[in-house]
Amino acid sequence: MESEMSDPQPLQEERYDMSGARLALTLCVTKAREGSEVDMEALERMFRYLKFESTMKRDPTAQQFLEELDEFQQTIDNWEEPVSCAFVVLMAHGEEGLLKGEDEKMVRLEDLFEVLNNKNCKALRGKPKVYIIQACRGEHRDPGEELRGNEELGGDEELGGDEVAVLKNNPQSIPTYTDTLHIYSTVEGYLSY
């Protein structure tokens, strides 16, 4: 049993090859979502800086969320050069697992995520797919929990760029749901062996 007690070995670091094309799609419902144009500008700046080919669509209906994702998948699969990575940004009102289109109808996030998975998008098979979802997932509000003296948050640190649209640091409280890592043995809807 001594071998089981040997020193832990460092992880071998493997990186995704990012030398190919980077493609991004942003779908944003701006209706009754003040400030969303500012968010889209910030995303456009970020994608330009990170050398992504960025496409932005405003005010999709629930059906158009799906159609735009389908079109994005076809664009990726027909891209002439190898594709390294895709970003999808989804911004709308929402509930857990659902986004609300401009037409007030709901679309399931699961259906959107399916479009670019390894089965449905060959050019992205084994390549990183990053989803950024800016939407409500329910009605709960988090007032935070008070910290004791020895449970300090990090100090004030300024970001190098644009100011964030939130109030400045409050070291007395912390969100209820941090410092937890969720590790599931399988993805939702699938068996675990």
């Binding site: 990012m18 968010d39 990170l50 988090d142 007032p143």
Partner: protein, 64 residues
């Protein structure tokens, strides 16, 4: 969202992805840390908002 400044989440995320170096999981930790240090006021009451990351990445992803 702030009418003129946008959402804390997107503004923090874009700032971190542009101005910080590290793997994307390290950057999302930084976003969570920064958002934990801040609060928003809603109807006169302080509120906390933090992102949740679920990952099935098999390798390190570096965007810079």
């Amino acid at each position: 969202r702030h009418d003129e400044k946008g959402s804390g989440f997107i503004q923090t995320l874009t700032d971190v992805f542009i101005h910080k170096k590290g793997s994307i999981l390290e950057l999302t930790e930084e976003i969570t840390r920064l958002m934990a240090n801040t609060e928003v006021m809603q109807e006169g009451k302080p509120r906390k908002v933090n992102p949740e990351v679920q990952s099935t990445l098999r390798k390190k992803l570096y965007l810079q």
